[in-house]
């Protein structure tokens, strides 16, 4: 493994750790579980560093590992989940906020897409790499989701008028 790749990995983890945490929190809604998922993801990515084709691919690989770890953690967590309610959306609901209502009604994959684009500022090709879909699919999904949001906002405005 080249030293450049190791350094790129360390830098990517240091630069992206908050991003990984936010993504894991979206699935797990528990700070401790999110940290565990991020730790597992970093470890998994480190062990597979040799297989990552280039240093540019490391950030997307880390995000993908985090999503996988969070989903695995979610599955394990089912057995010990305390008796308290949890939210189903990747972002906490903000009652009365039409954007929140729109977002919460989306499917998980679409919520993730919007988070990666508008919260984490990933480029479309990076998102495509994270989600394992062609770049064109990312563009068309984003376009469709924004169209739907525009419609929802128009409805909201006409309702308020």
């Amino acid at each position: 493994m080249s030293n450049g790749k190791e350094q790129a990995f360390i830098s990517a983890v240091q630069e992206r750790s908050h991003q990984l945490y936010r993504i894991a929190m979206g699935y797990l809604h528990s700070a401790q579980d999110a940290e565990d998922a991020v730790s597992d993801a970093i470890e998994s990515a480190w062990k597979n560093l040799k297989r990552i084709r280039s240093t540019d691919a490391i950030p997307a690989y880390l995000i993908r590992c985090t999503i996988n770890s969070a989903k695995t953690e979610l599955r394990k967590k089912r057995h010990t989940e305390p008796l308290e309610p949890y939210q189903e959306s990747l972002v906490a609901r903000d009652p009365g906020n039409p954007i929140s209502d729109y977002f919460s009604d989306l499917r998980e994959r679409d919520q993730l897409l919007l988070i990666l684009k508008y919260q984490e500022n990933l480029r479309e090709e990076e998102i495509a790499s994270v989600l394992h879909v062609p770049r064109g699919t990312v563009s068309s999904r984003l376009s469709r989701l924004l169209d739907r949001l525009r419609e929802e906002m128009k409805k909201e405005e006409s309702g308020n008028a």
Partner: protein, 366 residues
């Protein structure tokens, strides 16, 4: 603009990590880079502690010994590596020696490197977990994290780095003393995947049930708005009768206690021994012989599992499948179980003046 509104919503509602998250990431990276890096030799024992001491120039004899490690540590967390000060105090309890090798108090943050060595047996190993019991005692609220950084099988010594952050309302006095304490640890921790299929006795049939005892947890995938109803359903669930427990050992600390059908739903019951002193836990995967997987909880059933405490903090956990192979002889049931020996308890603590580990710059500024 909808994009901007969406951005604002996400920025306002996505959670940020806790204050000491970065340090925990540093520790994790340090452990990975020093332990897992295939290019570097795995140096037995004291690896991080020695390396950190080297970094601050306490020892020069080992400089060539671990040049790579030093460089990596500097890259990962240079501030902490530079700030560590030697403590070298030890104590003994239950035939186990603890040594605080070095420590630093920098602002409201502390980093301690320490080792534990079993002088009598094999209770200290590479899987050792201080079970949230390692603490630097200062008169403030604090929280932290601990990570094993190395293990030397020759001397049965494990090394750790313990990071803590305190909410300080005032600076400690120059004359204050500080104690570092460990009260228990787990070892012989292992995760094993076990095929439970051959352990299933005879045919799976409709079976005797009982109301679930007071549950300590549950899982499920109810639709939005059905969460409370599903929780109530978990509380009212009928489970396999523990009086007819199968008592089939799976691995140390894990017992298959039942499998059967109640009202058309497949139930699998597992007992984890004394989870408060072992942290035993696990999860199951149900599939058929063609490899098709069946999720534990579907939208229809709403409750995927329930758990409750038995005697001596045994945890009974029952997994429910409302979809499973029609031909029950085709069932393949696998479990992934993490277990450990019962916690070793003792009183390991050393006390030293705060001035030994406090940053010079802070003393001057006070």
């Amino acid at each position: 603009m909808p994009e901007q509104k969406l951005k604002n919503f996400l920025h306002q509602n996505m959670p940020e990590p806790p204050k000491d998250f970065d340090e925990r990431v540093h520790l994790h990276l340090a452990r990975l880079v020093t332990q897992e890096e295939p290019k570097m030799k795995r140096v037995p024992g004291f690896i991080i502690a020695f390396a950190l001491i080297l970094v601050i120039g306490m020892t020069t004899a080992l400089a060539a010994f671990n040049e790579d490690v030093n460089q990596l540590l500097y890259r990962i967390w240079p501030q902490a590596a530079q700030a560590l000060k030697p403590v070298n105090l030890s104590c003994e309890s239950q035939g186990i020696r603890m040594e605080v090798v070095s420590a630093t108090l920098n602002g409201s943050e502390t980093l301690v490197t320490m080792t534990m060595q079993d002088l009598e047996g094999d209770r200290v190993d590479e899987t050792m977990d201080l079970f949230d019991s390692a603490i630097l005692q200062l008169p403030y609220d604090g929280s932290g994290t601990c990570m094993q950084t190395g293990y030397d099988p020759e001397t049965k010594t494990a090394s750790f780095a313990v990071y803590m952050k305190f909410d300080m309302d005032k600076w400690p006095a120059e004359s204050d003393k500080v104690s570092f304490r460990v009260s228990r640890f787990l070892s012989n921790k292992k995760t094993q995947t076990v095929d439970l299929t051959p352990l299933i006795p005879g045919e799976i049939t409709e079976t005797v049930s009982m109301p679930v005892p007071a549950i300590r947890g549950w899982s499920g995938s109810p639709e939005a708005g059905r969460r409370e109803a599903a929780k109530e359903k978990a509380r009212q669930l009928m489970v396999l009768n523990t009086d007819n427990s199968l008592e089939i050992p799976v691995v140390d600390g894990v017992t298959l206690t039942g499998i059967g059908i109640i009202d058309g739903v497949l139930h699998v019951q597992i007992r984890y021994t004394d989870i408060l002193h072992t942290d035993n836990h696990g999860f199951l995967t149900l599939s058929d012989k063609s490899g098709k997987k069946y999720e534990e909880s579907s939208q229809k059933q709403e409750v995927g599992s329930v758990s409750w405490f038995g005697e001596n903090y045994d945890s009974w956990e029952e997994y429910l499948y409302d979809e499973y192979p029609e031909d029950l002889s085709q069932i393949v049931l696998q479990g992934e179980f993490t277990t450990a020996d019962p916690a070793v308890e003792g009183d390991w603590h050393v006390t030293f003046p705060l001035s030994v580990i406090r940053e010079e710059t802070e003393r001057q500024s006070n």
